[in-house]
Structure formats: structure tokens, C-alpha cells
């Protein structure tokens, strides 16, 4: 592997195993996640893709029975079982959830929450961040006149884009998205997909999706998980046109899942 390719690796996963108590949920995962690319994780329910994505920002720490083995390096730094500052990690590796989860506060306060948490108090700086984040999430024009309204008054699709804007406001490098469109209608879904494609210029994106068409439409790399194993990880075009593994082929052609 050349040095240049190595520079492009944001997450380097080696022999990674995860256990929930005695349940071995992820087996020997090896993969790399590249900078400014969209990596899609696909697979049937319960295959471990959501579990895996939550390891990348250590949200799994919140589940008491979780045990990790192996190595995941984020920009060369070990994040598995190491004493890194998980709060700094989560600031750099943002997350968008399956169900839109804006805080029960105003739109403005939702976006400003992250920056305020990280010590930004200056009003004009905050204003700037709020405007920039909403603009980057392609929702500023819709919301600019109602920044003081409760975020809960927005539609589901708007709420999800607000959550993306909220994640962008802490200036992350990576955005983890755990089935961000599964609770949304087709129009909201296509808006989010457009947005994700645009965000790839500045951010590295890892997206879990149930929707294979979505993976085809937006991702550069696709990883197929099955029952806790990473079956295949390759360029999206390759995976969907000439999968190497029979199980991948069966899944993408709709024979199960």
C-alpha cells in the first residue's frame, strides 16, 4: 500500500471483535474507511452494522455489557480500549440517528448546543455558526425566519436535516449516520441524500442503510455485513455489479434479507 493511500485512511479497523456479554456480535472485522468518501454499511437486521458504527465514536461505551477486542485506529490513534478522551472523539466523529432527535428547545438553541458545550459563548460567533451549519445542511432558507421556534414543530425531514446541522456545528471530520432516512418519506429522503453527497466534499461519511438503492446512489464504498461477519467490502460499483461472495450476491439480488 502506498503512503498516499495511507494518508486517506480515516478509520483503520484490524481484527476487531465485539461482545455483548457472552454474545459475540462482531467477528474479526477488517476494513478501512477513506477520507472524503461515503462508506455504506449494508446487511439484514441484526447483522451488526449499527453496532459497528457506534464503535467508531465509542457510543457503545454507554452499554455496560459491551466488550471490545482488536484495533480501530482513527487518524492513526487507537480508539479501542485506549484512554483517549471520548468527548473529543465524539466532537470529531459526529453522529446522526435513525429517528430524528432534536432537543426540545428552539431551532437556534439546538444548533448552538454543541458549540456552547465546547465553550463558545460569544453571541456573534454563535450566530455565525448557526447560520453556517443550517446553510451547510441546506435548510437555512426554510428556517431562517423561525429560529426561535421549537425544533419539535418541524416536520420529520426538517428535523433530520436540523440534526445534521447540529452535528455539523461542532465542526466534525467524520459524520456517522445510522439509517438516517428510514423514518422519512421519499421526498425528505432524496433531500437528505443530495445533502450527504454534497457534504462528502468536506466530511467523511459512514452511513448505515437498509436501502440498497440508497447505497448505490450515494456511496463510494460498500461493506456488506451478515450475522456479525464482514462478508465483503469494496467499491460500490464492484459490489453491486460483480460481488465476489455468493452471499453478497444473494443479498443484493433480493434472495434474502
Amino acid at each position: 500500500m502506498t503512503e498516499q493511500v495511507k494518508d486517506n485512511v480515516i478509520f483503520d479497523v484490524k481484527d476487531f471483535n465485539l461482545y455483548y456479554g457472552s454474545n459475540h456480535a462482531l467477528h474479526n472485522i477488517n476494513m478501512q474507511i477513506y477520507k472524503n468518501a461515503i462508506t455504506a454499511l449494508i446487511g439484514p437486521s441484526g447483522c451488526g452494522k449499527s453496532t459497528f458504527i457506534k464503535t467508531l465514536n465509542r457510543m457503545n461505551d454507554l452499554i455496560p455489557s459491551v466488550r471490545l477486542e482488536g484495533s480501530i485506529k482513527y487518524k492513526g490513534q487507537e480508539i479501542v480500549n485506549s484512554d483517549i478522551n471520548v468527548y473529543d472523539l465524539r466532537k470529531e466523529v459526529g453522529m446522526v440517528f435513525q429517528k430524528p432527535n432534536p432537543f426540545p428547545m428552539s431551532i437556534y438553541d439546538n444548533i448552538a448546543y454543541g458549540p456552547r458545550t465546547h465553550g463558545i459563548k460569544n453571541k456573534s460567533v454563535l450566530n455565525e455558526i448557526v447560520e453556517k451549519s443550517l446553510t451547510d445542511a441546506a435548510i437555512f432558507d426554510e428556517l431562517k425566519d423561525r429560529l426561535k421556534d421549537s425544533a419539535l414543530s418541524l416536520s420529520g425531514g426538517q428535523q433530520q436535516r436540523l440534526c445534521i446541522a447540529r452535528a455539523l456545528a461542532v465542526k466534525p471530520d467524520v459524520l456517522l449516520m445510522d439509517e438516517p432516512t428510514s423514518a422519512l418519506d421519499p421526498i425528505s429522503t432524496s433531500k437528505i441524500e443530495e445533502l450527504v453527497l454534497k457534504l462528502k466534499e468536506e466530511y467523511t461519511i459512514v452511513i448505515v442503510t437498509h436501502n440498497m438503492q440508497q447505497a448505490v446512489r450515494i456511496s463510494d464504498t460498500t461493506a456488506f455485513f451478515l450475522l456479525g461477519d464482514l462478508i465483503e467490502c469494496d467499491k460500490t460499483d464492484t459490489i453491486f455489479s460483480e460481488p465476489k461472495d455468493k452471499r453478497t450476491e444473494d443479498y443484493i439480488t433480493g434472495r434474502f434479507g
Binding site: N57, R90, K91, G94, F103, P104, G114, R166, A167, V170
Partner: protein
Amino acid sequence: MLDKKSSFNGSESIASLVFLILGIVNIAFVLLICIYLIIAGLPAIKEIGIIDFLFGTRWASTATEPEFGILPFILTSIYGTAGAIVIGLPLGFFSAVYLAKFANKKVRTTIEPLIDLLAGIPSVVYGFVGMLVLVPAIQVIFNLPDGASLFAAIIVLAIMILPSIIKISITSLEAVPNEYELGSLALGANEIETCFRVTVKAAKSGIAAAVVLGVGRAIGEAMAVMMVAGNAANMPSLFESVRFLTTAVASEMSYSSGLQRDALFSIALVLFVFIMLINATLNMLLKRGGKR
């Protein structure tokens, strides 16, 4: 089939009639108390004059020229309740936050039954312990002729309202959806920031309801207060013997007669109005919380 349905409707309507009657009985009790208090309480207010009654600063019900000013009782009740909230709220609130969000399971399962126990202790026991332990302690610590005082009553009330504040705060903190907390943690906020800036904020109407309930409990408490407050009809002062609205009624009722007895009913009416206002506030808060 049709027969079965009509017989089901028959038993349904009997059941709803029974429940209706039970409901009406309940409401009738409340109305009865309400009407009785107004009828029994108004004559003395009329005779004494509402201004003299509510804002008179001297209560001398058994003097040859009796005076019936209840301002000392009203102010004592307000100060005592406010003091109990000032001490009890932070204590109860932070206990609730700790138990709901930070305590491990073992600590929680040990402490929570104890809090339930605290709620179940009869108020006369609170008063008894206050009388034997708290009052002498205050006397020694602050070097007073007598420790029975507003301060002693405030401490006892603060402890008595703890269980309801803790319980209701815990319930409302736990009702906050976990997704809010995950959202905050995913932005790099730590657990403490998440708790106070997201969870508590989302639970604030429930916590406000806990405070109002505490106020209601404190202002209505008679027995424990009577045993530690000294019961002299002074204008309130932290280390003086004082008399609350509740204790004013309770302490004279057994031997009162004539206008004095009527005036005691009037005091009860004033207390009743306070409680109604507190309940109305509580309902408003809960309704607003429910809307969210």
C-alpha cells in the same frame, strides 16, 4: 349474536351508572367541604372586617377586648413554606438527579425504599423527633432561651417535603426520552452537561410540579409544625416562637367558642384558598408539561 351484544350493552350502562355515582359522591365531598368552609368562615370575617382580619398584626382571641388579626399566621405560613422550599428543593432535586441518572443500581435500590419510608412516617413522629433533637440543638447552637422557632419548623418541613420532591423529580427525569441524551453525548458533551442542559431542561415542568406539591404539603402541615414552632402568635422572625395558619386552628379549636371559634373557621377558609391556588398552579404546570 345480536342478543349477546345487547346484554353486553346493558351491563355496560349499569357499570357506567355505578361509576358516575361514585364520581358524583367524590365531587360532592369536595363541594360540601368547600361550601361548609365558606358558610362557616365568612361570618367572622364580616364581623371583624376583612382588612382587620387579614392584615391585623395582633391575635388575642381570649383577651377581654379580643383582637383577631391573622397577618402573623399568614406571613409565618408563607415564610415557613418558602424556607422549607429553599432548603428542601436543592437537596431533593440533586438527590433526584443523582438517583435517576448517576447512581448505580445497588445504591438506588437501597436508597429508594428509604425515601418511600420517609414519605410514610406520620407527621407526629417528625414533630416528636424535632422536639427532642432539633429544638434543643437549635437552642444550644444559636444560644437561644428556647429552640422552638420558625427555624426549627422550616427544617422539619424541609425534610418532610423531600420524598415528594425526590419522587416526582425522578419520575419526570426518567420520562425524558433517551434519544435526547444520546444526541447530546454524540456531540461530545459529557454526562454532567447532558444531564443538566438537556435532561433537566426537558423535565422542568415535572420538577416545577414537584415544587408546587412540596409547597402544598408544607403549607398544609399542622402536627409536626405545632410541636416545634413554639406557637406564640408573634410576627414571624427566624428564631422566635411562631404560629402557622394550620397550628392557629389546631391549637385553639378544642376550647374555642363564639366569635373566636368562627374566626378559626375563617383561618381555615384562608388556608383553603391558599391550597386551591397551589392546586390550580399545579394543574396548570402539569397540563403544560403534558402538551410538550
